[in-house]
Amino acid sequence: MSARALLTRGNLAFALLMVVLFVIPTVASTFFINFVMTQTMILGMAAATIVFLAKYGGMTSLAQLLLFGVAGFMFGNAALEVGARGLNLGWGPWAAITFAIAVTTAVAFVLGAVAARTTGIYFLMLTLVYAVIGNFVFAQIVDISGPSGITSVPRPAFVGSPLSLYYVGVVLSAIVYLGFRVVGRTAFGLALQGVRDDPVRMASLGFNVPLHRTLAFTLAGFVAGLSGLLNVWWNGQIDPASISIGPTLILLIIAVIGGVSYFEGAWLGAFVYVLIFTYLRDLPLVDQIGITEARFNTVIGIIVLLIMVLSPEGAAGIAERIRRRLGGRTRTASSTSTSGPRSTDPDEKESEVHDDEPNRATEGAGAVPGSGSGALGGGLRGL
């Protein structure tokens, strides 16, 4: 790929954003970095897994916060040598990280394998059941947590300072963002989108539909586990309430606020959520109209309603809408209904597959889901 081809507006914007994220600690307050931005990176990564499953797989998952929590619990169990609760394995940081991610990914694979044969509202309900069961598992099994959770979780030395934790969050977020975009263009990703759009046709072409869904869920679980690790380092503790229904829905709300069709929306939604949580109560006179800390969820609910009405594609979709109004390049975002997006217009599919990289059309693969050729040839064939 030529350097010129890399100089797209999207790539330049991404590079500029990364520069801003790396430079911002020099100008912003310590609290803003340690609290607002670090939380944004953590929640953004977790919400991006919801976007990934919805955008490429047509699966709206409520189990992502559970997997986020599994990583945190497992790290706490592995890292602590002495503690009031948990296994207290006393392992080193890398062994604990490996253990946490391995367990989380394995759990995601198992849960994904069970859920892969369901779609739409049934998938949503099943993942909700996972979230509820997970909450009770950690609340009831005192050997790994119990109701009071794991406290005094140590941070590995490489994230010992708040600033280093923030930078690790930024780098991992960038990797996750680019990684998910890249996956969407791989043979697996294209096949997954084919499964999203027409599973029957994909199955008839010989693709193993449940396996594609399972592996997508597993990948999303792996990434949720990474964000869960950052969270347990940031928070120093995790308990069953951390993965209860309230926070589970909050993560979905973050994805909705940002826009479930856009990966960048995950971080934008997280940023908006954390900003509102942190600063809304400090606005002058805001308490005079009854908006106090106790009304935080009400405000978030109103914002979600407004987003759904004014911009169903979320905050990240607003710019796209403006661009379309001004007659710019059109781009159709995937529908985010629980039945999964179903494109019928070939141009739409092209834009989805190519994911807003205009130069992509001149380079290649050109295959679209359902063609059974080109890049899809490398998909996972059913046995």
């Binding site: 340690n34 009071s148 590995p156 030395a157 300072s161 263009r185 120093g236 503790q237 926070p247």
Partner: protein, 484 residues
């Protein structure tokens, strides 16, 4: 993989490698495990910047006014503050000063009974608003989380509000976290002794909420009851938030198989669990049931007067029937400070402030505020030397309306506990009548609990006979007057 993806995949691989390289192969950070940035507390300019941690959401959301009012009242009484509103403490106060050091209220945190949320709130108060002294939090798991946070912020000073988890002081042992009241176990000290020696119980079954406070509250009763020779036959722990208790009641022995039952089920579960017992095993009798402070006269309104006769554990304040000149003065002063307060006991409707002030939620935070004021007095208002300030606080003995409080070596309160009984008054109503004050209770229960023992749990403590310092030393209370 097509040619298009290769450069990006290479870039990703390079980035991952760089992250791992940057990470190095070190061990763990020594900055503690609260997630708090070390040194988050702002530079000291001689002013006490106070943050109060309450709960405006969750199961204790109704007590927000109570707890903020408690801390505020301490500032009014002991620091010369003036309340901004005569009907609510949530509007804050002005003019607080001790030994020339101003006390400025920088913010009120809004918890929801979860550790995650209270950590966010305390970080906001300390790292954004610059609080260097915190009063709070309210509940057990919150207390553990905030104690951990304090441990990693040595320049911060935390006076626990009403968090009743034993672990917050006994295990965490943050040198800057102080609790001038009892924990959930302490509040049941003496109850087992009374049931064994006065009521003749020899065996008991316990049922309690399955979380830190339920475990701790039950642990206090078990330690006390077993210390004098009693036996615990069953331990049942329904999850917090259970609505149908029938399956848990089924795990309890029948009334003819055990001498008594101890209950530590709170919130909406109190009544639901007792009703499930009535449905499955017959009527409740005061002679066979006892409980922690969740057992209160309100139960009788729903369950009938059969519960009269039951003994009830203590709380931060003594029951309302205990009156001394000091208590009367304290309540009168509260009434003079506000016209009304919308506390939890009055269903968050305006009521005389003394109603709220006599309740443990207000009083726990009040005790913390008094400790702050007296700690400042002890160091002549200078908090520049935090170690000296903390040492002075550790040495305080507070002369409080409901009894003196001093701290043990883990900076947790050694307190007097009031044991009461539900009785029927002349008008046929069930009321709470104090029967004894158990003096000088500390959280170790004569060695039952310590830094090296497990935290209270479903199966800890074990039932063991032991000499407790307060056994047999309860001070009788007759007509609300301690017979000291």
């Amino acid at each position: 993989m097509s040619r298009i993806e290769r450069p990006k995949v290479r870039a990703l691989s390079l980035a991952v490698g760089l992250v791992l390289l940057a990470a190095g192969c070190g061990g763990y950070s020594d900055s503690g495990g609260s997630g708090a940035p070390p040194g988050a507390a702002p530079a000291d300019d001689g002013t006490v910047r106070l943050g109060i941690l309450g709960e405006c959401e969750g199961p204790f959301g109704g007590f927000h006014e109570d707890v903020v009012a408690g801390a505020t009242f301490a500032m009014v009484e002991h620091a010369g503050a003036t309340v901004k509103s005569r009907t609510s403490a949530l509007d804050g106060f002005t003019g607080a000063q001790v030994a020339g050091t101003p006390i400025e209220l920088v913010g009120i945190g809004c918890g929801d009974d979860t550790a995650d949320r209270i950590l966010q709130e305390v970080r906001r108060l300390v790292e954004q608003l610059g609080a260097n002294v915190i009063i709070g939090p309210l509940s057990g798991d919150e207390g553990i989380a905030v104690a951990e946070y304090a441990k990693s912020n040595p320049d911060l000073t935390v006076f626990a509000g009403l968090a009743g988890s034993q672990e917050a002081t006994l295990q965490v042992q943050a040198p800057n976290f102080f609790r001038f009241y009892g924990d959930g176990a302490i509040w049941n000290a003496g109850l087992g002794d009374i049931q064994y020696n006065k009521e003749g119980w020899r065996t008991v079954a316990v049922i309690a909420d399955d979380y830190s406070f339920g475990h701790t509250s039950t642990a206090g009763f078990i330690a006390d009851f077993c210390a004098v020779g009693g036996q615990v036959t069953h331990r049942v722990f329904p999850p917090l938030g259970t609505t149908d208790y029938s399956s848990y009641i089924a795990q309890l022995p029948d009334p003819d198989e055990v001498d008594g039952y101890f209950w530590a089920v709170g919130g909406t579960g109190t009544q639901a669990s007792l009703e499930a017992f009535v449905d499955a095993k017959g009527n409740l009798t005061g002679a066979q049931h006892t409980g922690n402070f969740f057992f209160n006269p309100n139960l009788a309104q729903a369950l009938g007067t059969g519960i009269a006769g039951a003994y009830v554990g203590g709380f931060a304040a003594l029951p309302a029937d205990v009156r001394t000149p000091q208590i009367d003065e304290y309540l009168a002063s509260a009434d003079a400070t506000w016209e009304s307060l919308a506390g939890a006991l009055s269903s968050n409707q305006p009521a005389p402030p003394s109603v709220t002030a006599a309740f443990g939620f207000f009083y726990g935070y009040y005790s913390a505020g008094v400790a702050l004021a007296q700690g400042l007095t002890a160091v002549d208002g200078s908090i520049a030397d935090r170690a000296a300030f903390h040492a002075a606080i550790s040495d305080l003995t507070l002369d409080l309306p409901y009894g003196d409080v001093r701290l043990d070596e883990n900076r947790s309160g050694i307190v007097d506990v009031g044991i009461s009984r539900l009785t029927v008054n002349d008008t046929g109503e069930v009321v709470q009548q104090t029967v004894a004050i158990v003096p000088g209770v500390d959280q170790t229960f004569g060695g039952t609990f310590g830094p090296d023992t497990p935290s209270p749990s479903r199966d800890f403590p074990r039932c063991e006979r032991r000499d407790l310092p307060w056994t047999g030393k309860a001070i009788p209370v007759v007509g609300g007057a301690p017979q000291r």
